[in-house]
Structures are given as structure tokens and as C-alpha cells.
């Protein structure tokens, strides 16, 4: 019954009416992994989660839990627990009854239920709130209650649908860390849906980036951040987002914004491309590409400087002690290995 499960999605597709919601979804998630489904809203990540839960059926493809095909299994038969974005707590039941519900539904002996409820509640530190109704809890407490209800029956797969989106910023950071700890202590495969790239990067072992109903890239946060496979992934990850410059590639050099930029390798005959560079990878130096300072945003630890390179807006992250003023002319420098090169037509990494 218990123990983390390996999850595989093989060629899953889903249509809502005539609209394709998901296409060719292939995923292989290892047992015990903390895996994030990341993407903008409407990209299909929640639909994927719901297919895993059995709340929606796949039009094509298979869903495997270890070796077991659960594509058409009822939600209750899957040994899967889920925390909904709205928490979906039962408002007419106390916290205790809420947490006990999944156990009560399979006729667990009363003393066993009692023990499991207390244990789960302690784990998320709501042991003192068991007598309350969900309506009497704060947002953070409701969220913990939903977590406790999900972990009480020791599921093999744990699904979290934007669990932090209804919390305020400070609580979100705290809960993020706790979720990670909880995952470690439970040893259960966890899928985590979020549109917040920072959340996914910090919490997940691996992540899949969803765009318009398909998976653009799967990898560790480091891989996806350092080697985005396409322009869309590159643009979606990172805050502030990656800078893009339209360019022409000829051999080992690129021409962009009236400048000639050296490249790490030979890209062959002339072609249209887009150069990408992260705001943190650019340095302000004595020589390099000239740019006009347009706006300085102080963020405390560091600052974001908006610059004009020719007609293109470029954003640079600098140390807060760097003194630049609006209207200044500065020079930009960067290492060629920090440069991301994408094909202008296919939007894929070159």
C-alpha cells in the first residue's frame, strides 16, 4: 500500500471540446522525487495533475503508477492524495473530522484513526486546532489542515495544486521550506503545480516547464535555468527575465544593436537569431558595449538598472553599491559562455 511510487505519463493528450489542452505529455518521475509542474496559467499543468488524480480522463496515452496502469482508475482507487488550491476543506466538519475523513471512508478502526489524525496534525503543527471549523482558521492554518488531510493516509503520490498561492508573501516563504521538510520526512513522490518559477526552482528536485499544453523542458532547476531549451523557457524563468537581442549570426560572431559580439563557437553561415543574457550575467565596466541608463530600481541587496542599447531595452542586476544615475552612459561586459543563442524562426536553442 505505501512507499513512494514511480509515476509515468506516456503520450497523454487531453482535449476540452475542440481545444487541445494537453498534447504528447511524457514524464517519468522517480519514486520519492519532489517534482514541479511549472508554467503560465492555461499551460496544462493543472490538467496534468488532475489526470494523475483521476479527476479528468486522458483522451490519449497511459498513466502508470509503478507498473500499474491507472489511466482509467477511479480517483479513490489510486492511492493518491491532493491538496487543492482552494484547500477544499469540508466546512461543516471540524479540523479533526476533516483529517479523519479519508480514513473513515475506508472503515479504519477508531483508535487507529485517532492516532493517525493526531500524528498528521502534529506534523503540520495544528494539533491545538483540532476542535475548530475550517471557517475559524487563518489561511495558513487552513492550508496546514488540507496538508494533514492529505498525508494522514500515507499516500503513494502526493499532488499539490498551487498550495501557496492563497498565502501572503512571508507565509509563502516559510511554508515553502516546511513543504520541503515535510516531503523529506514522508518519503512520498510529490508533484507540485505552480506558476511561480522562483517557487519551483527552490523547492523541486526536478521540474517540467509547460507551455501551451506541451512540455517544453524537463530537468533540474539548475539545468533548466542554465540551459533553457527554447526562447519561451528562457523568458519564463528568472526574475527579472532574460534580456533578448535580435541578432545576425555569422560564423563565430553575432551582430546585434550595432555591435559585434564574439560567440563561444562557430554557428555556420549567416542566419537570424536571438541572443539572450540574464540580467545577473552582465557587468558594468570601463569598456564594452555602450548603453544609456534609463531607470534604476533599488531592491535593497541589489539594484536593477534599465538600459538602452541602441533601441533595445536591457536590464542588468548590479550590486547596490554600484553608483549609476539615470542618463549616464555605461559600458556592458559579459562572458561568452553566459550568452544563450536561439534560432529566430524555431525559437529553439542553437
Amino acid at each position: 500500500m505505501s512507499g513512494a511510487a514511480r509515476i509515468r505519463l506516456l503520450g497523454v493528450a487531453k482535449r476540452h471540446g475542440g481545444v487541445t489542452a494537453l498534447k504528447d505529455i511524457d514524464l517519468d518521475i522517480a519514486a520519492g522525487e519532489f517534482f514541479a509542474l511549472l508554467g503560465p496559467s492555461g499551460s496544462g499543468k493543472t490538467t496534468t495533475l488532475r489526470i494523475l488524480a483521476g479527476l479528468e480522463s486522458a483522451d490519449e496515452g497511459r498513466v502508470l503508477l509503478d507498473e500499474l496502469d491507472i489511466t482509467d482508475a477511479e480517483p479513490g482507487a489510486r492511492d493518491v492524495a491532493m491538496v487543492f488550491q482552494s484547500y477544499a476543506l469540508y466546512p461543516h466538519m471540524s479540523v479533526h473530522e476533516n483529517i479523519a475523513f479519508p480514513l473513515r471512508m475506508v472503515s479504519t478502526p477508531a483508535d487507529e484513526i485517532e492516532r493517525a489524525v493526531l500524528q498528521a496534525a502534529e506534523k503540520v503543527r495544528i494539533g491545538h486546532l483540532l476542535g475548530r471549523r475550517p471557517g475559524q482558521l487563518s489561511g495558513g492554518q487552513q492550508q496546514r489542515c488540507a496538508l494533514a488531510r492529505a498525508i494522514v493516509r500515507k499516500p503513494r503520490l502526493f499532488l499539490l495544486d498551487e498550495p501557496l498561492s492563497n498565502l501572503d508573501a512571508k507565509l509563502r516563504l516559510e511554508t515553502r521550506v516546511e513543504l520541503k521538510k515535510l516531503h523529506r520526512s514522508l518519503d512520498v513522490t510529490t508533484l507540485y503545480v505552480t506558476h511561480d518559477q522562483e517557487e519551483a526552482m527552490t523547492i523541486a528536485d526536478r521540474l517540467a516547464v509547460f507551455m501551451e499544453g506541451r512540455i517544453e523542458q524537463v530537468g533540474t532547476p539548475e539545468e533548466v535555468f542554465a540551459q533553457p531549451k527554447s526562447l519561451d523557457v528562457a523568458a519564463f524563468l528568472g526574475s527579472p527575465p532574460m534580456n533578448f537581442l535580435p541578432a545576425k549570426l555569422v560564423g563565430r560572431v553575432a551582430r546585434a544593436a550595432g555591435q559585434t559580439i564574439d560567440l563561444a563557437r562557430d554557428y555556420g553561415p549567416e542566419r537570424d537569431a536571438v541572443l539572450g543574457i540574464r540580467p545577473g550575467a552582465i557587468r558594468l565596466e570601463a569598456s564594452g558595449i555602450p548603453a544609456q541608463v534609463y531607470l534604476v530600481e533599488q531592491l535593497g541587496e541589489n539594484a536593477i538598472v534599465d538600459l538602452h542599447v541602441g533601441e533595445t531595452l536591457v536590464r542588468v542586476r548590479v550590486d547596490r553599491r554600484v553608483r549609476v544615475r539615470e542618463g549616464d552612459t555605461v559600458h556592458l561586459a559579459f562572458s561568452t559562455e553566459d550568452l544563450h543563442v536561439f534560432d529566430a524562426a524555431t525559437r529553439q536553442r542553437l
Binding site: A53, G76, A77, V80, S86, N166
Partner: protein, 270 residues
């Protein structure tokens, strides 16, 4: 100011009831006094007459009770699953069904008397309990379904999905999660259905009246060509009102609970 306005409204609303109550305590002579007397010697004679006298309405109260309780029970038993299905499932003719249900409520009942008469006569069910209950259900069921669909639709779908994942299955999700939250709506519907059946007069007087003689029909007897026994009629009316008021008071608790119970923010994306 607001209190005054509320008080005035309450007075307007309760005036007929109060007047009826006062009348029920008067002798027939005081009832007919002109100008009306406000100070009179109250008597319980009318109540004694309508409850235990020759013109007792107790059997009729029982008759009303049988018809109304049966109608309400059968209606709710059918309406709850039907309304739930209409609220949740993607049915092909959902809109059309909804409109049809509403349309049945727009027919003037008097236009249905003859067809109902013919149908009940054909079945040999004139002046029978099952005949009257069946007839009342035809009116109450669409109304009850229509009323409850909106209550079910208000309950977030994620609530049931959570129950399904918690291994409840559809029926137990309905029983443990949906119905408790629809309690307010169910209470409102029960009150309306019961009230309509209890107060129904037209069909009862035309299609029944001997074996099945509900209190509304019995009260009609106090009005005859020669005279109207206003005081007894008023006493009978007050007695007939009592069960409905009791039901209302009992249901109120659930109605108020039904309104406050869903106080969890979030609610989910629809």
C-alpha cells in the same frame, strides 16, 4: 428610523394573522359588531368547536398531514438526486430541461383541473391519497428541483473532488460532503413544498373532498349560503397554520446555518 420602518412592515405583514387570531377569540356576535370592537370578552369556544365539537377538523388535519408529508418526502427523495445531477453532470438537454421545469410553474393550476380530473378518473384514483400525492408531486417536483439546483451549484466542485480522492465515491461524497452543505437549501425547499401541499385548495376540493378531505376543504364548510361562521373559520385557520409555523421555526435554524456554514474563503476557480 430603520427600526420604525421594520416595525411598520412587520405590522402590515402580521395584520391579517393578528386579525384572524382576534376573530378566533370572539363570539359570532362580536365578530359581526359594527364598528368592530377591540375590547371584548375572549372565548375559547371556537377552538373547542373546531377541535373537539361536531365540526371538528382534527381528521382533516390528519388528512392534510398525510398528503403534505407524503408529498414532501417523495418530492425530496426524487428532487435531491435530480437537482444534483442537473447541477453537476454535463447532460445534453440541460438548458432545455431547466426551461421546461420553469415553464411547468407558469401554467395556471385552474387550467389543469380538467386534464387532472380525466387522468385520475381514468386511473380510478379520484379522491384517494395516492392520487392527490401524485398530483401534488407533479407540481412540487419541478419546483423543488429548480430551487435546489442553484444550491448545489454554489458548492465548489473541488469539495466533491476532494471527497472522491479521499475514497468516498460519488454517493458517499453526496451524503457526507454535499448534502450537509446544501442543508439550508434543503430546508427551504422542504418548507416550500410542504407549504404548497398544505395550503392547496383547488385540486383538493374538485378532485377529492370525501375520503381525502384536507383542512383547507374542511374550512370551506364554515362558509355556506345562509351564513359564514367567521369565528370558527378563524379558529380553524389558526389551528391549520400551527404546523406550518412550527415547521418554519424548525427549518429556520438550518436555513441560518446553511447561510453561514460555507464561510471558507478561496472557493476555487470556476
Amino acid at each position: 428610523m430603520l427600526g420604525l420602518a421594520a416595525g411598520l412592515l412587520l405590522l402590515v405583514w402580521s395584520f391579517p394573522v393578528l386579525w384572524g387570531f382576534l376573530t378566533s377569540l370572539k363570539s359570532e356576535r362580536d365578530v359581526l359588531a359594527y364598528p368592530p370592537v377591540l375590547v371584548f370578552a375572549p372565548t375559547l369556544a371556537n377552538y373547542r368547536d373546531v377541535l373537539f365539537g361536531a365540526t371538528t377538523i382534527l381528521p382533516n388535519l390528519l388528512s392534510s398531514l398525510i398528503v403534505s408529508v407524503s408529498t414532501t418526502a417523495v418530492t425530496m427523495l426524487l428532487a435531491i438526486p435530480a437537482a444534483y445531477a442537473l447541477a453537476r453532470l454535463e447532460l445534453p438537454a440541460k438548458r432545455a430541461t431547466g426551461f421546461y421545469v420553469l415553464a411547468t410553474q407558469m401554467l395556471p393550476p385552474v387550467g389543469l383541473v380538467i386534464p387532472y380530473f380525466l387522468m385520475l378518473r381514468g386511473l380510478g384514483w379520484l379522491d384517494t391519497y395516492h392520487g392527490m400525492v401524485l398530483l401534488y408531486i407533479t407540481a412540487a417536483l419541478p419546483f423543488a428541483i429548480w430551487l435546489m439546483v442553484s444550491y448545489f451549484e454554489e458548492i465548489p466542485r473541488e469539495m466533491e473532488e476532494a471527497a472522491l480522492l479521499d475514497r468516498a465515491g460519488r454517493l458517499r461524497a453526496l451524503w457526507h460532503v454535499v448534502l450537509p452543505q446544501a442543508r439550508g437549501g434543503i430546508a427551504v425547499t422542504v418548507v416550500f413544498v410542504f407549504l404548497n401541499a398544505w395550503n392547496e385548495f383547488l385540486f383538493a376540493v374538485v378532485l377529492a373532498g370525501n375520503t381525502v378531505r384536507p383542512v383547507t376543504v374542511a374550512m370551506f364548510n364554515f362558509i355556506s349560503v345562509e351564513q359564514t361562521q367567521w369565528a370558527r373559520l378563524a379558529a380553524a385557520a389558526i389551528v391549520a397554520m400551527a404546523p406550518v409555523i412550527l415547521l418554519g421555526l424548525f427549518a429556520q435554524k438550518h436555513i441560518v446555518k446553511g447561510l453561514t456554514v460555507g464561510a471558507v474563503k478561496g472557493g476555487g476557480r470556476r
